[in-house]
Amino acid sequence: MTETVLEIDRVSKSFGDNKANDAISMTLGRGEIVALLGENGAGKTTLMSILFGHYVPDEGRIRIAGADLPPGKPRAAIHAGIGMVHQHFSLAPNLTVLENVMTGTETLWSWRSEAGRARAKLKSLAERFGLAVDPDARLGDLSVGEQQRVEILKALYNDARILILDEPTAVLTNLEAETLFATLKQMARQGLSLIFISHKLDEVMAAADRVVVLRGGKVVAERRAAATSKAELAELMVGHRVARPVREAHARGEAVLEAAAVSVRIDGVDRLKEVSFRLHAGEVLGIIGVSGNGQAALAGLLSGTLARSAGDILLYGAAIGDLSVAGTVAAGIGRIPEDRTREGAIGEMAVWENAVLERIDEPRFSRHGLVDRKAAVAFADAIVRDFDVRGGGPLTRTRLLSGGNMQKLILGRNLAERPRILIAAQPARGLDEGAVAAVHARILDARKAGTAVLLISEDLDEVIGLADRIQAIVGGRLSPPVSADEVDARALGLMMAGAWQKEAA
């Protein structure tokens, strides 16, 4: 038995009537990686906020190496050796890496900067843990993965012995995530203790020694990673067995949307290069690829927010020039944007307003420039009911919905109109298992009803489960399509790496 560095002892915390943490107890050993697994809203982030002193628990205690940690004092938590790597980095993009790391550690009352000493310390930490990064690079110029490294280095610079990572892979590509896990394991080997928060089963199995499962604010199980399985964890996390729905074979219809050698240029850079695809009614065409390879341009092009620079788009067999937002909506193209909080919905507006905004000029929702509020609210009400949006009604501010329910709203406002085409970019990203299953089921229902679905995703499981045909997007180019029944994860991995480009050359 290794020495226990952290002990959480029956910690409870309520917000109003909502018991976010209910008598939670867990321990963390030296050199151990513990995954805190749970759905969105299970209480993971609340627990870690208590640990880091952001919240004061209603009951319970926290002990670090046997000594009580005073509640509600982030400074005490830092002093005790707790470091937190936030999901949304708390770094300043206009400062250099070194300046970011030093921020908050230097006293304001000293004439001399400690930059020299800090640089040496940063360098030795980077070497020791394999976190290579240029101390003089401006943070804003770094990739997300590198920025996360800086955030980790910052915690280590403050002499953290216990590192908490809040959904560290949410912003990373698959490759970056693997690098991160290797780093975490190295850190654990060197005696650091880590807790990482996640709702992704794959990474929990890949990285953790031990898994603590939270559900509804309670610890429902604790397992050694070696002695459990993804299936068991999924069941523990959700409380019942969830199976992601899988497509059934059925015949596809005619081609409804075609791209012929379409390019998109943004600020002088070709984001899409002569991409061609043919999307048929009643099929799901999966576009897989590591993020940043042109997915945003493809989604923007087909959602009507980006114009093409070359090539043709054919809608229902006829060339249509550029799509506009109004044109796509009117043509029966449903659109699910990649970033639901930035593009998909406006948080400060009511659910009903978000439900009808893209259709507000249609005569059923407005006449002579006046909003028919009753009709709009009724439309939103039907979506809330039919698509099982929980946590609010048509008049609720949309920001108050959870990610999954917001996604159901966005899905609902598209599918309620029985679109002939659905452009879905990362439709299940960041959702918990229950919500993923719901979103997938809806997409498959639409496919069955004859909707042509273009699914842009980084999640291999998702694409394999839903898509009939798959094309990979690499550096703005699309691979030729392959049938989903004829490929496995390995073949898809090669496609995402661009192996088809060498064959063509």
Binding site: V325, A326, E343, G344, G369
Partner: protein, 349 residues
């Protein structure tokens, strides 16, 4: 101690917020009154008497509130759509000088039913143009309109100052820099005899209701709010961003220009560089006090006018400076900002 965002704001809280803010501002300025050696409660009483104690003072307060309502609406409309129009003062002056120019040069002999609406329009258009410039700079080059619209205030006042000392100078004003007058036929009729209260008050009141209707019921209101809250979200939903913000700028700049037009046509008849005691800037305070609600603007403008007009009476009776009104209004903005914060967040220990 820390702050958490309130997820549900009860209606009572929304209504109470400005009232508490004003009460706090009055209490704080009471300290200053006491420091000046005057009885605090009597000072407040004198302010009320000064603002509403006689028919003359009451109409004067309403006259003072008129341009404040319009500049307040201008700021509220713009801020709702996150167009940070700090240029109300410049738009006010351009609206005023447009009225003086068009009224004295082009429409000098026109009958009132023709010249009045045309002059109001001229004032509004002048204000619009002054706000379209910063908006265009923002849309085209991402220049912050807070800076540009603010700096254009000084440009506008200097242009006015040049015009009233040059081409538009009134030759009968004994050399004072003063514009030629709007013909009597184009002056807004008085709302009440033997007072300065004019039809501009009615216009401002009606416009407050019109703006409220536009914001709460029309497609344009919905789209402009979306554009302000989340440009990306609005674009994704097909809201034409540039066009929507351009309309907002026209509305906002037009209202501020109208304030200047109404002040010239209702009260002064001509333009000087002290036509506005900061109506454009006070409009921002009014809009904030009103929580950016158009009908709230009416009340906030009345409060501000009450303080300004009432402070004169208090000053005469108690021999303390009228600056106390400026202090109270300024304090009420600060307390309002604090109150809005507490209405949105709650304290947790």
């Amino acid at each position: 101690m820390r702050f958490e965002r309130r997820e549900h704001r009860p209606l009572a809280l929304i209504v109470l917020t400005p009232l508490l803010a004003v009460a706090a501002a009055l209490a704080l300025s009471g300290l200053l009154i006491a420091a000046a050696g005057a009885p605090v409660l009597e000072a407040y009483w004198r302010i009320l008497v000064g603002a509403f104690g006689s028919r003359l003072s009451a109409t004067e307060t309403l006259t003072r509130a008129t341009p404040l309502m319009l500049t307040g609406l201008a700021a509220a409309v713009a801020f709702r759509a996150r167009v940070w129009n700090i240029g109300g003062e410049g738009q006010f002056y351009l609206g005023a000088i447009a009225v003086a120019a068009v009224g004295s040069q082009l429409l000098a002999g026109a009958p009132g039913y023709l010249s009045m609406p045309l002059l109001l329009l001229a004032g509004a258009v002048a204000g619009m143009i002054l706000l379209i410039i910063p908006l265009w700079l923002r849309l085209r080059f991402s220049v912050d309109e807070v800076v540009t619209s603010l700096l254009l205030n000084f440009v506008a006042v200097l242009v006015v100052s040049m015009l009233i000392d040059g081409p538009l100078k009134d030759p009968l004003a004994f050399g004072w820099p003063q514009s030629q007058s709007v013909p009597d036929a184009a002056m807004l009729p008085k709302l009440m005899a033997r007072s300065r209260l004019h039809w501009g008050f009615g216009i401002a009141l009606v416009l407050a209701f019109v703006v409220h209707f536009v914001q709460s019921r029309t497609v344009f209101g919905l789209k402009s709010r979306a554009a302000g809250l989340s440009p990306e979200g609005a674009v994704f939903a097909g809201v034409p961003l540039a066009r929507t913000l351009l309309f907002v700028a026209c509305l906002s700049g037009g209202l501020a220009g109208l304030a200047g037009a109404v002040e010239v046509m209702g009260v002064k008849g001509y333009v000087t560089t002290d036509l506005s005691p900061g109506f454009g800037y006070s409009g921002i305070v009014v809009a904030m006090l009103a929580g950016l609600h158009p009908l709230g603007v009416v009340l906030a403008a009345l409060f501000t006018a009450t303080m300004f007009v009432g402070a004169d009476g208090m000053s005469r009776a108690l021999k303390i400076p009228t600056y106390i009104a400026d202090v109270t209004v300024a304090l009420s903005l600060i307390t309002m900002l604090v109150a809005v914060f507490f209405a949105q967040y709650r304290i947790r220990r």
